[in-house]
């Protein structure tokens, strides 16, 4: 580590300046150690010797330097997602109790060592997480209480909500209650999944993805919710998270609309749902992953992106006719802004996107598919990036990414108007590329001698 620090002392100086310039009231507490500040925390995985070792590394800068995990960094348990709660805590969210181990949290000490806090959590299964005040909120859609079973023994679907309180270091889960029913959430009989949370003031906005009819929903009232009987499964199939059951109608019958649930607070018990038919559901999908597509800008405007993933559906009744696009909910309002709509495919030459993130100043970073979505086919690869500006409705593909690119990291890190995106290549170690949204250019920054970069953030030492 020391060798690296002396080599890049200039970078350290620069980073320290950046770091001080954007820090908050905690500044007074910070006494940089002799080794120099290393406030950037990178969750990485090293796959070698038939084993994947998760390791947390610290860096002085994301713009330059090479960091090795050999006898350096903190080896930890595997996590499904690495989530930074502000600049205080790093959570390694892990669930599915038996397999993945426990959810843990980390802080940075005054010497920039990563320290695991003593409390760990056995977390319920979840599919989506979000922030609300001190909480990291997780949700999934699962089976409801036994006593709700219908005559077939089928259970209605229900949201399972859990809260990690980052300050109090506690964990709690919702209990089975009809307020959490996901079954017939939109009034069309289908059950839903929540995909991505965005807090605005006290309220919590979530994109709603209709999932089709569960066994319970398909059987309800003699099948009155079944629009397309040929879509009801006649046998069990599939494996793991994407398995389906006999009697289920997998995937939505309503692919040409987008719904947003507006919850009064983090309890998710009081809500209203707003709908637009200009875009399809606002969620990025990869197998059973549902990526966040609802984001707030600095002024409180909310933007919803739909990649129109339902274009890939095999059955034409489940296929959306709407192109990938963007709509808006203006600051202070709880209705869709009728004056705002952008057709992304019209700007991109027909290409949709897998993921989106907000960089700042009205600029969004989109991970673009390399080809248009085709019915009945697997989604194409998504190995390019674009900057979409919501104010002038322009889309620019990012230049300067390496030719040998094989994957992007799970989440970029935003700082000073730049997006720092982890990039994996076939002829080198993963590196962080700094993307400047003003001219849509990418410049290679720090290199990490690992297999994948799973999370980047910044923590204040404490």
């Amino acid at each position: 580590m020391n060798r690296f620090i002396t080599k890049t002392s200039l970078a350290v100086l620069l980073a320290t300046t950046l770091f001080t310039s954007c820090s908050n009231e905690n500044d007074a507490d910070i006494t940089p150690p002799s080794g120099g500040a290393r406030p950037y925390v990178i969750a990485a995985t090293v796959t070698m010797s038939n084993n994947s070792t998760p390791v947390l590394l610290t860096a002085a800068s994301l713009d330059e330097g090479t960091i090795s995990p050999v006898h350096n960094g903190t080896v930890t348990d595997e996590a499904t997602y690495w989530v930074f709660h502000g600049t205080e805590y790093l959570y390694g969210l892990a669930y599915n109790q038996g397999n993945a181990g426990l959810t843990r949290s980390y802080v940075l000490d005054k010497d920039y060592n990563i320290i695991a806090r003593d409390r760990e959590y056995a977390v319920n299964r979840f599919t989506t997480y979000g922030m609300y005040d001190n909480y990291i909120l997780t949700t999934s859609t699962g089976n409801g209480a036994e006593e709700w079973a219908d005559e077939n023994g089928f259970l209605p679907k229900m949201f399972l909500v859990s809260y990690l309180d980052t300050k109090a270091e506690t964990y709690r889960s919702s209990e089975a209650s009809e307020e959490y029913l996901s079954e017939n959430f939109l009034g069309n009989g289908e059950y839903v999944t929540l995909s991505g949370f965005q807090q605005r003031g006290e309220k919590l906005f979530a994109a709603v993805v209709p999932m089709g009819l569960s066994q319970y929903g398909a059987a309800a009232d003699g099948g009155k919710w079944v629009k397309y009987p040929h879509l009801v499964k006649t046998e069990d199939g599939g494996t793991n998270s994407s398995s389906y059951k006999k009697g289920e109608l997998q995937w939505t019958q309503y692919p040409n609309e987008c719904h947003v649930a507006i919850f009064d607070d983090e309890t998710l018990t009081t809500k209203k749902v707003i709908t637009t038919d200009r875009i399809s559901y606002a969620s990025g999908r990869f197998k059973s992953q549902y990526y966040q597509m609802i984001w707030a800008t600095e002024n409180g405007d909310l933007y919803l992106f739909s990649p129109s993933y339902a274009k890939t559906m095999t059955d034409e009744n489940q296929r959306t006719v709407l192109p990938a696009g963007v709509v808006r909910i203006k600051s202070g309002e709880e209705v869709f802004d009728n004056d705002y709509y952008v057709n992304i495919e019209a700007l991109s030459g027909g290409r949709s996107f897998l993921r989106s993130w907000y960089v700042g100043d009205g600029n969004f970073l989109l991970q673009m598919y390399d080809a248009p979505l085709v019915p009945g086919n697997s989604a194409p690869t998504a190995l390019s990036l674009a900057i979409f500006n919501v104010n002038d409705a322009t889309l620019k593909f990012v230049e300067g990414l390496p030719q040998t690119l094989s994957a992007f990291g799970k989440t970029p890190y935003m700082e000073n108007g730049y997006a720092y995106m982890p990039v994996t290549v076939t002829d080198g170690y993963p590196a962080i590329y700094r993307i400047d949204p003003s001219d849509a250019t990418a410049v290679k920054g720090a290199v990490f001698e690992v297999t994948s970069l799973d999370g980047i953030g910044k923590l204040f030492p404490r």
């Binding site: 090293v46 070698m48 010797s49 038939n50 084993n51 070792t53 390791v55 006898h71 350096n72 960094g73 903190t74 080896v75 595997e78 499904t80 997602y81 669930y95 599915n96 109790q97 038996g98 397999n99 993945a100 181990g101 003593d118 409390r119 760990e120 959590y121 056995a122 319920n124 299964r125 599919t127 699962g142 089976n143 036994e146 077939n152 023994g153 270091e169 506690t170 964990y171 889960s173 069990d236 199939g237 599939g238 793991n240 998270s241 994407s242 997998q250 197998k287 059973s288 992953q289 890939t312 559906m313 009945g376 697997s378 989604a379 290549v425 076939t426 002829d427 170690y429 001698e449 297999t451």
Partner: protein, 780 residues
């Protein structure tokens, strides 16, 4: 009968031919290699033969018995007595002779393979299972995840349990299910256990790259015998075993084995406890807590009936086996994660047919064949509505299922057909050809029992395997022999695969693959007591059913695995000598394995953020190591010895996965594998205590395992957090045998010093435990 020309200075050789446990063998052919001289034994088994001076190789053969070869030197002595004991073909399916060293561990004499035979005679009064005996073999390490009936992983020279195939009396045990495994079969069932390391003879038709374990059962040979035992001990552990077998004069034979194991496994471990108030686990606050959802029991019975010693069959046996198991699941892959109701059940039905015939059609052609069918139904049940902590407290879950809601029944069907033909022209056994064929078929289907309306998976998982092996052995003299062999493997697999990324349609996908392996083995006796063995095999292991399709629970299959390929080399030097009352047995072995497309279990993220254990092919692995076995015996009063193994399993891949950059692990040890371990024991015998035929045996044994890292030790600066520490454990037992072993009482203390023992990261094994066993062995 002897029609010998009268020659001056002839040697007169005489003696008696007997069969083990059966007495004199009449009409045994006594031949001399070269064919010029020969005779037969008389009704009393006696023979007499005159030979000219010089070196001769005698061959004793008799119908239904394994031939015995003996080199003699006819020198100035004019008379030489040589008595020979034959083993019936049923006693010995393969062509090896066990030479016993006084303490249970011996090499298979004349075998060129790296093989040891573990004689269970000395431990039949212990309360252990076959796995306990196996762990006292060089290069072998057994990793258990908990107490009685917990999952075990057998490791041979760094290869995991999946690379090792288990046979009972030469019959493959694939698909028998968890209720009839190494960790629950009592020691009394076996007469000995043979462990072949790395290079495997063709008569075990298996793609076992790491080696083969063959359990030779304690089968009645004449008259009748009864072996019955019961043991009780800590954690409410009950075990019982009954074996009864009888051979009638007319050749009718039957044999019954019944055994049972039960344990609450409520041993104490040290773990943090989840506080339901805060929903958190204070990882540094360890409590001493008792396991409460770990009850295990299994019951098994096997019955065999048939005939022996007929002109058309040396052995024809029809068998049926029934077994069942119930096992509660206390923890996830980490001890912090507690289950209070999750459990599994399993039932197996195992009919079998075995046939053996020497000199079939013409002299020197021997056939043995077996057909068995294993049907195993296992059910995983996780339907709890609340979660548990280590104090046994509960909290209502917002859904069902402690890990994930499941009531899944897996039906496994396994057919095995194995046939082995040996052909050895003439009576000399100079040339031996062996042809082995194995066919196995495996089918798995799943049924969900969650709802009243039972639903079955539309697509079954299916595996067919064909393995053919051919070998030739040349035995020019008693002092050396050499074998060359080739094997052909073919495997066909079929299972469901999603056709779209929406996973809304599944089709049955099939894949066939084949591979060829070959090898050679040779042995040479430098002195009668000093033997050198060298063997090589280009081995192959086809992916297993579990690796390709998972176990429907925590293990996730990988459909696209390639076969593993490996070059295996063994070099062994063994010494077995006696000086008056002193006996010395020593064996040193060097092991080299160069493996490609290594398949290893790995805990990975699956799509959707779910994690599970899965299997991947990974580049190259180099295994190099040695083991040393030493044993000293004094008269029949003392035996002291042990095994030491240092097996380095190294990452031999230069570039990282998916990139051309250097692999940071290159040259480093593969993680999560114990590499250095030892076992040692001292046994004292007090003959004649309290009666002429009584004996008191005191035994101490210990095991050592050097620390190893769960993750690669090169990564991070906190590697101590993921270390399975150095461990040393001790066991003591006291056995009192009356009337030459008819009645036996044993007392055992395991883990005397109450060490915290781990074979797997975070999963603590039982502490100090006491057991008592009573055993009766009667027979004629």
């Amino acid at each position: 009968m002897s029609a010998l020309p009268s020659v001056a200075h002839n040697l007169k050789l005489y003696g008696k031919v007997t069969a083990r446990g059966e007495g004199a063998v009449p009409f045994a052919a006594v031949g001399v290699e070269g064919g010029k001289f020969g005779t037969y034994s008389n009704d009393n088994g006696d023979y007499e033969l005159e030979l000219p001076l010089g070196r001769h190789v005698l061959v004793f053969t008799a119908m239904g018995y394994e031939p015995v070869r003996k080199e003699v030197y006819a020198d100035e002595k004019l008379q030489l007595e040589y008595n020979v004991e034959l083993l019936s073909s049923e006693q010995l399916l393969d062509d090896v002779v066990v030479t016993e060293s006084s303490a249970g561990l011996s090499s298979l004499r004349n075998s060129a393979y790296n093989v040891v035979a573990l004689d269970t005679k000395g431990v039949q009064n212990s309360t252990g299972s076959l796995s306990d005996i196996l762990s006292k073999s060089p290069g072998v390490r057994l990793r258990e995840s908990g107490g009685e009936g917990s999952g075990i992983n057998l490791m041979l020279d760094g290869f995991s349990g999946k690379h090792i195939k288990v046979f009972i009396d030469g019959v493959p045990q694939e698909g028998v299910g968890a209720s009839f495994g190494l960790n629950n079969i009592p020691v009394n069932l076996a007469e000995r256990i043979e462990v072949y390391r790395g290079v495997v003879p063709v008569q075990f038709g298996a793609d076992a790259m790491g080696g083969v374990v063959n359990i030779v059962t304690n089968s009645v040979r004449e008259g009748w015998n009864l072996d019955a035992s019961y043991s009780y001990g800590s954690f409410n552990t009950h075990k019982s075993f009954i074996n009864f077998g009888k051979v009638h004069r007319n050749g009718l034979k039957y044999e019954l084995n019944i055994f049972q194991n039960y344990s609450d496994n409520n041993y104490t471990i040290n773990a943090p406890v989840e506080d339901f108030e805060t929903g958190s686990i204070e990882k540094k606050k360890l409590y001493s807590v008792e396991r409460f959802n770990d009850t295990y029991h299994n019951e098994a019975a096997t019955f065999k009936v048939g005939v022996v010693g007929k002109s058309w069959a040396d052995r024809l046996m029809l068998g049926i086996g029934l077994s069942q198991m119930y096992k509660e699941v206390q923890t996830g892959v980490r001890q912090e994660i507690v289950y209070g109701q999750k459990h599994r059940r399993s039932h197996s039905l195992m009919p079998s047919l075995e046939y053996g015939k020497r000199n079939l059609l013409f002299n020197g052609l021997d056939l043995s064949a077996s057909l068995n069918y294993n049907r195993n139904v296992s059910t995983n049940i996780d339907t709890a509505s609340c979660k548990y902590n280590w104090f046994g407290e509960t909290k209502k879950l917002n859904g069902r299922g402690e890990q994930s809601l499941q009531h899944l029944q897996s039906n496994n069907e396994n057919w095995n057909l194995a046939a082995n033909i040996n052909y050895s022209p003439g009576i000399s056994h100079r040339h031996l050809f062996t042809l082995n064929y194995l066919f196995s078929a495996f089918r798995r289907s799943n049924t969900s029992l969650l709802l009243p309306q039972v639903v079955e998976d539309p697509i079954d998982k299916l595996t067919h395997k064909n393995i053919v092996g051919l070998s030739y052995r040349l035995t020019p003299s008693e002092r050396w022999n050499i074998t060359a062999f080739g094997k052909y493997y073919n495997v066909f697999v079929q299972g469901p695969v999603a056709t779209t990324s929406n996973a809304d349609e599944y089709v049955s996908n099939a894949r066939a693959m084949d591979a060829v392996g070959y090898g050679a083995a040779g042995t040479y006796f430098i002195l009668p007591q000093l033997q050198v063995k060298l063997s090589y095999e280009k081995a192959c292991r086809m992916p297993t059913i579990e690796e390709m399709f998972g176990d429907e629970d925590l293990e996730q299959g990988e459909f696209g695995l390639k076969p593993e390929r490996s070059h295996n080399v063994n070099l062994n030097v063994g010494y077995n000598g006696k000086f008056g009352k002193h006996g010395l047995f020593a064996d040193a072995g060097l092991v080299l394995r160069d493996t490609r497309d290594y398949i290893q279990r790995n805990i990975v993220d699956l799509s959707g953020g779910k994690s599970a254990a899965t299997y991947i092919n990974y580049g190259k692995v180099l295994t190099k190591g040695y083991n040393v076995t030493l044993r000293y015996t004094w008269d029949k009063l003392l035996s002291i010895g042990g095994n030491f193994t240092d097996m380095r399993v190294l990452d031999n891949m230069k570039t990282a996965i998916g990139s051309s950059v250097p692999n940071l692990g290159y040259g480093g040890k593969m993680p999560n594998l114990p590499s250095m371990f030892a076992d040692f024991d001292v046994t004292l015998y007090w003959h004649g205590l309290g009666g002429k035929d009584n004996m008191l045996t005191f035994c101490y044994d210990g095991q050592y395992v050097q620390e190893f890292s769960y993750y690669s030790a090169r990564i991070g600066s906190n590697k101590g957090d993921y270390i399975v520490p150095d461990q040393l454990s001790h066991n003591i037992s006291l056995v009192y045998s009356l009337k030459s072993g008819r009645y036996n009482i044993a007392l055992e203390c395991r883990n005397v010093t109450d060490e915290r023992l781990y074979d797997n990261f975070s999963l603590q094994k039982p502490g100090r435990a006491f057991y008592a066993k009573f055993r009766v062995k009667l027979g004629k």
